[in-house]
């Protein structure tokens, strides 16, 4: 045996085993977590759970209001963050690559991406809720989340624009197109897959956020779903947090069922992102 396995061989084997364990550690934890949530949460899922209002009795409580709130947040945040994020990225990547302002902005965007989400909540509380007088409305909530995910969209859009080969741009100029035309007709369509993927990932990050929304005061019991951007709201993660903080067992079960719903939404969004990325990659051949 000693002849077959020298010390180096043993080291090699040990390293391999450590690597495998490390790789599967995260996966095992995730699997245990998912199994646990599924076992407890799935039996609670029923049509009633989706259509019921919140209640002090766990068995009557449902997610209608937070679910609608989450959809509102998704739509409003997208509307606000996509134009700004994409436009900023186009400027930084296509126009301002070498000027000082752009590099200043770039550093700050990187900084912004590293700011803890609760800080955005505090900023939003003063700026949107109080100064602009938006209250704890959907508008204030989605503005907060827009700020939070803006750096993600800018960064991913820039990556997507960077991936478009220089030759495409040069060919376009060669045919007499202006810069705007080149960006509009060549660069953006080619980069669309990457841009959309970034947007979807950013939005799925936004709907999972809890802390900044709690800071602006969205931890609420409300009796009817929001119907306009100025209405009070609640979202899925806030509802889950609220249920988890209650002592009764029934609410814990509700919370796990809520987690199943929220996870499903996130998985679907990420699935769409992966699908779109693959589709665009096949379509665009450079």
């Amino acid at each position: 045996m000693e002849k077959l396995f020298s010390l180096n061989h043993l080291k090699d084997k040990a390293f391999l085993i450590t690597g495998v364990i490390s790789t599967f550690f995260g996966l095992v934890v995730l699997a245990i977590f998912l199994a646990n949530i599924m076992i407890e949460g799935i039996p609670r899922l029923s049509l009633d759970f989706f259509t019921s209002l919140p209640s002090r009795r766990a068995e009557n409580a449902g997610i209608l209001i937070p679910l609608i709130g989450t959809i509102w947040i998704m739509v409003l945040t997208s509307l606000m963050v996509i134009p700004f994020g994409v436009a900023a990225a186009v400027y930084l990547e296509e126009y301002g690559a070498k000027n000082k302002l752009a590099s200043f902005v770039e550093i700050n965007i990187t900084n912004l991406a590293g700011v803890p989400s609760i800080i955005f909540g505090l900023l939003a509380l003063e700026l949107f809720v109080r100064f602009l007088g938006l209250g704890k409305s959907l508008m204030a909530g989605s503005l907060t989340l827009s700020l939070l995910v803006l750096p993600i969209i800018i960064t991913s859009t820039r990556e997507a624009l960077k991936a478009v080969p220089r030759t495409i741009r040069e060919a376009s100029y060669g045919l007499g197109a202006t810069k705007l035309q080149t960006i509009q007709m060549q660069v953006l369509p080619s980069a669309a897959g990457g841009i959309v993927t970034g947007i979807i990932l950013a939005i799925s990050r936004a709907i999972g956020e809890t802390a900044p929304l709690i800071v602006i005061g969205a931890m609420l019991y409300i009796t009817s779903p929001p119907t306009s951007p100025m209405d009070d709201f609640s979202t899925m993660p806030i509802q889950i947090f609220n249920w988890l903080s209650r002592p009764q067992k029934g609410f814990i079960v509700n919370a796990t069922a809520g987690i199943v719903v929220l996870l499903s939404i996130t998985f679907v969004l990420n699935g769409i992102a992966i699908y779109l990325r693959n589709r665009w990659q096949k379509q665009v051949k450079w």
Partner: protein, 322 residues
Amino acid sequence: MEVMTKNLLTIALATLLFTLVGCGEKKSTSDAQLLTGAVSIDGSSTVYPITEAVAEEFRKIQPNVNVSVGLSGTGGGFKKFGRGEIDINDASRSIKKEEVELAESNNIHFVEMLVAYDGLAVIVNPANTWCTEITVAELKKIWEPEAQGKIKKWNQIRSNWPNEEIHLYGPGTESGTYDYFTEAIVGKSHSSRGDFTASEDDNVLVQGVSTDKNALGFFGLAYFEENKDKLKLVAVDNGKGGVLPSLATVRDKSYSPLARPLYIYLNSKAGEKPEVQTFVSFYLDNASKLVTEVGYIPLTDEETAAEKAKFEEFIKTHSAAK
């Protein structure tokens, strides 16, 4: 003659119709009337379960009124209340001087209404024969942060108590109950020893104390009431002899300091809105039933009547002053 009767009838009918229509336009606050609008409430997380229950029941009779109940804590709520951002503040203590000043500086008048009492029970195992009453000072000696790792035996608290280990049980540090107990006993909110069995689920505490002869614990009185047969209540002595918590001793304030009143505060401007008036009136009428359900101690009928009268008087003076 016949014509006249007919005319009279027509006039009577017309008057009746006009009165009815008039009522509709004025938005009278009768329960049959379906109101719209919004009631925004914030404040104490202790009062939250009561307000939530009231809002849930209120929705059944007034489905078009949007009621929102936040839980920023009593202090956070009073800040918003003083700025006029909310209609009603839930409070687990009376308003402080600075908070009154803030409200006055914004020209906000308010009324305080008592809605329930919150009582805490100190409990031991039924097999515990020695501990029937305990003083506030002794409770402090057990629970203060300095006791950690030092106070471990019953005879360290009172020398004639047995030389046996003491096992402590209490609600989790995230709960309002814990805050309130530590404030009343230790003197500082959120400050206690850490080596006790803590659980957010009161059932775990009941289970723990009921199976452990050397246990001592505390939680909301309502939970004791539900598990009377498994637990023993300890009288608390605050200098005037041991007092057992009960509906009566909490209501007459002799069970101190482990009982406190819970309030709602109404802003006078909000009080002009019919939907807010109806909500508060519904709150006071239904509080006693719902308070018991969520685990607090309801007011006596006289107290409820007095709070209701206070509310109506407040509405009257403020609508008259306008």
